[in-house]
């Protein structure tokens, strides 16, 4: 697993061509809603329970 692979996969999933530029101020004013947190935790639990077959 390389840094490029992670970045490539992330850009692909978000349908982005390049890394978005976000400043520190953007993050400071950002609030992660309970809904987003719940979705993240649910995916985490699911990924621990269901492995996918490789090639």
């Amino acid at each position: 697993m390389t840094e490029e692979q992670i970045l490539g996969s992330l850009l692909q999933q978000l349908h982005l061509r390049e890394v978005p530029v976000l400043g520190k101020g953007d993050v400071e004013e950002l609030v992660i809603s309970a809904h987003v947190r719940a979705q993240y935790v649910a995916l985490l639990k699911r990924s621990h329970g269901a492995p996918s077959r490789g090639k």
């Binding site: 992330l10 890394v19 993050v27 987003v36 996918s52």
Partner: protein
């Protein structure tokens, strides 16, 4: 068993397979004697028949030859191994077709018979399925690597911890909010290779390599800008974490241990 003789009976489980390296189906074509000699040959017509093991393989068989004919059914055996219900018997359907269609195509294929199609009860010449297997205890991967032992060339294929530090990556700054990092794992070490006799018989089998056979996805919370305002979004990256490492040949299905 031949499709026309299929009676639906269940075969008793024969063995516990560690890994199907190769499978060969041997069919006996008996010598039909004068019947072949009576066969009128058209000039240019083929005296060969195409024998197919349904969906898996086929080969040409001369109508003048008798004896055992071998078919490589490795793919069929591997597919059967991957089925969720391996207790079901492996069914191979054999058919004989014309070698090629056209005005000069003969009916030679109708003369090809297999010994098992002879009188009921005759045991001689019954189809045989050869399975060449490897013991996964020796030829498979181990689980997790020993954290105390350094990985060397002689280390048997295993899963090693590898932490990916997302916070340390410049591009992830102010963008990737969760997680700060994750255990990705990697497959390291080597796999024991099958005996030379098997690689000679099934040359398409490449060297067995230590690969990630099961993976899981990695959820992330990222910050995206919408209308100039940042918004948190959940995204899931597939195949980011290795769950299991296995030894497998390139292109071949990952071996799985079967229940007896």
């Amino acid at each position: 068993r031949f499709s026309q003789n299929f009676r639906g009976e269940t075969l008793a489980p024969c063995c516990s397979l560690g890994l199907g390296v190769g499978g060969g189906l041997r069919l006996d074509v008996p010598d039909w004697g004068p019947e072949f000699k009576r066969h009128d040959r058209l000039p240019g017509a083929s005296d060969q028949a195409r024998v197919s093991v349904s969906m898996w393989c086929h080969r040409l068989v001369s109508i003048h030859e008798s004896g055992w004919k071998a078919f490589d059914v490795t793919e069929a055996v591997n597919f059967w191994q991957q089925l969720s219900r391996p207790r079901q018997p492996l069914l191979l359907q054999v058919s004989v077709q014309r070698e090629h269609l056209g005005p000069l195509a003969s009916s030679a294929h109708e003369l090809v018979h297999f010994a098992a199609q002879g009188p009921a009860g005759a045991r001689q010449g019954e189809p045989q399925l050869e399975l060449h297997t490897l013991d996964l205890r020796d030829y498979g991967a181990q689980d997790n690597c020993d954290p105390e032992a350094p990985v060397t060339q002689g280390t048997r294929c295993c899963r090693q911890e590898m932490y990916i530090d997302l916070q340390g990556m410049k591009w992830a700054e102010n963008w990737v909010l969760e997680p700060p990092g994750f255990l990705a794992y990697e497959c390291v070490g080597t796999c024991q290779q099958p005996p030379e006799t098997l690689t000679f018989k099934w040359p398409f089998l490449g060297p067995r390599q230590c690969i990630a056979s099961e993976t899981t996805s990695l959820p992330m919370i990222v910050s995206v800008k919408e209308g100039g305002k940042p918004r948190a979004q959940v995204v899931s990256l597939p195949n980011m974490r290795v769950q299991k490492c296995s030894c497998a040949s390139d292109g071949a299905p990952v071996p799985r241990k079967l229940e007896p």
